[in-house]
């Protein structure tokens, strides 16, 4: 990692609303206003593509969620689909798993990411260790699933290792028993995703002013205490970003679960992101599928907005 020379992304301080610049705009009456057709020509390709291929279908999903599961001629049934899915044991399990993912995908990247960044930051060879942790981030969820399948299956590497160490009694059907399978999926996801947190915390650590650390050192505050009392509070903005990214990615995670377990066995490892696919495309129940998609969207947007506002405030 050459993150010591990393600079902060350009956008942190630039928010959608820019009152200062508006007044500045107004104070330049001499500027030629652009004709409407020009503005439309610049804006249209992006706006039309996004509207036609994501926003409009999203609105249709919301609309569809209020109809029943019939493939032809569906009937309006209000909140019926929502009522049915939240009483469906499979979906309840999926909600529980999603909740696990929420916890796992926040706690692990924040804890480990922070620890790894802090531990390696001031060690000269730290960047090589960091590289090992950051590299899986380049892999796809599909490739990660292939790799972890090899490790976790019954005759896989993990059980082989346990038996080799004489710990055969700890060997497990990792992917077949709930909740071990969901926990292992979260572990596999963390293996891939912790690198992002490390990168972000490293950038954050470089922004902590040296003086505060030196002042603490003069006052005799050292080691772990210095870290938690002096450094960590100054990383609050970074923590918010790490949490936001990890949460959003964890909630949307599909390929890892789909390729590793197909959501199974018995749909036991599904999260909402996978359940939607099952209901909509495997079982052909578009009404329930749409309802799950809407619930997932509400969770993702709520998480993102909370984090966005945080980011807006801290900057």
């Amino acid at each position: 990692m050459t993150a010591t020379t990393t600079r902060r992304g350009p956008g942190r301080q630039d928010l959608p609303r820019q009152p200062a610049r508006r007044t500045r705009l107004a104070s330049h009456p001499g500027r030629a206003p652009a004709p409407l057709t020009t503005r439309i020509a610049f804006l249209a390709p992006a706006a039309v593509l996004v509207m036609v291929l994501s926003l409009a279908p999203f609105v249709m999903t919301v609309w569809r969620s209020f109809f029943d599961d019939s493939l032809v001629d569906p009937h309006f049934n209000g909140w019926g689909s929502y009522a049915r899915i939240i009483t469906d044991p499979v979906i309840v399990r999926s909600l529980v798993n999603t909740f696990f993912w929420l916890i796992g995908t926040v706690a692990i990247p924040v804890g480990l990411g922070l620890a790894i960044a802090a531990l390696t930051n001031s060690v000269s060879w730290g960047k090589y260790a960091r590289l090992a942790i950051v590299m899986p981030y380049a892999l796809s969820g599909t490739a990660v699933a292939v790799i972890w399948n090899f490790i976790l299956r019954d005759d896989g590497a993990l059980n082989g290792l346990l038996e080799g160490l004489g710990l055969g009694s700890l060997a497990h059907a990792w992917l077949l028993e709930w909740p071990a399978n969901t926990i292992m999926l979260i572990v596999a996801n963390s293996w891939q995703a912790t690198g992002v947190a490390v990168i972000l915390y490293l950038v954050g650590l470089q922004g902590v002013p040296r003086e505060t650390i030196e002042a603490a050192a003069l006052d005799g505050v050292a080691g772990v205490r210095r870290f938690f009392y002096i450094v960590f509070p100054q990383l609050r903005a970074t923590t918010a970003v790490v949490m936001g990214i990890s949460l959003a990615n964890g909630l949307k995670s599909f390929d890892l679960i789909w390729v590793l377990t197909n959501g199974g066995p018995g749909r036991a490892t599904e999260t909402l992101a996978v359940s939607m696919y099952w209901q909509s495309f495997v079982l052909q129940r578009p009404g329930s599928g749409a309802a799950i998609a809407v619930i997932l969207t509400v969770v993702v947007v709520a998480v993102s907005v909370g984090y966005l506002r945080r980011q807006l405030r801290t900057s």
């Binding site: 820019q18 620890a115 260790a129 984090y307």
Partner: protein, 268 residues
Amino acid sequence: MNKLRSVAIVVIALLWLAPTYLILVNSFTATDDYDGTVAWFPRGTALLENMAAAMDAANLGPAMLHSLLYAVVAGVLAVLVAALAGFVLTVVPGRGKVFWFWLIYAGSLFPAQAFLRPLFTGYADTGLYNTHLGLYLIYIATCIPFSFFIVRNHMITLPREIAEAAQLDGAGWWTVFGRFYLPLSRSALAAAFIFQFVWVWNELLFGITLSYGEGVRPVMAALAGLQSTYGTVGPPVILAGALLVSLPTVIVFLAFQRVFASTLSTRI
């Protein structure tokens, strides 16, 4: 204390490397030598043969070519389209900028699942299902919001005097965009492109939902298909296949680490 820290770093790094090491070692084992147990030390030199077998079994070659095209074309077009929108919403005077910002940016907030089924039925109705064009379109559309965010955030930092001076010299908005803002935004455009390239290459959900044919499906769909043949082709071939399709993104990632770091910190 320092010793403890060193030990901790080494342990964590080794833990992280273990899966990668296992994959490497086992993908070197020749299929005939694979005895159903995990290799902890190299047992052969058959990596290339295994990669070739994986390409054969899952038709990975064409799939990689398709994904390369999807990733490059969608990345370039999305970044250009995003730059146009970013330009008009930062430099060109006009109303409704906040509205249009959120409209375009909203595309990156929703999970793909939220619009997948209507997209699928729409594709089926319009003949876009299982076509290259269909995948190009969805990849461009889903790459626009984040590229737009990056490019816009860069353009907002450029001095407006550039546009004003150019206009005094009689340049129109297209000239201001093409001659000044586009070249000045090179670094942001490149960062957005690299990010989207990796995203499209690694994408699975649209790939398996909007295509099925081997002439269209992207590389991760092909890899997922290969994985489902675990019992027949054997683990060494599948692991070699996973390695093969991961090489492009790993290389891009290692080459552009700095770009990833700076882009990530603006990611929502």
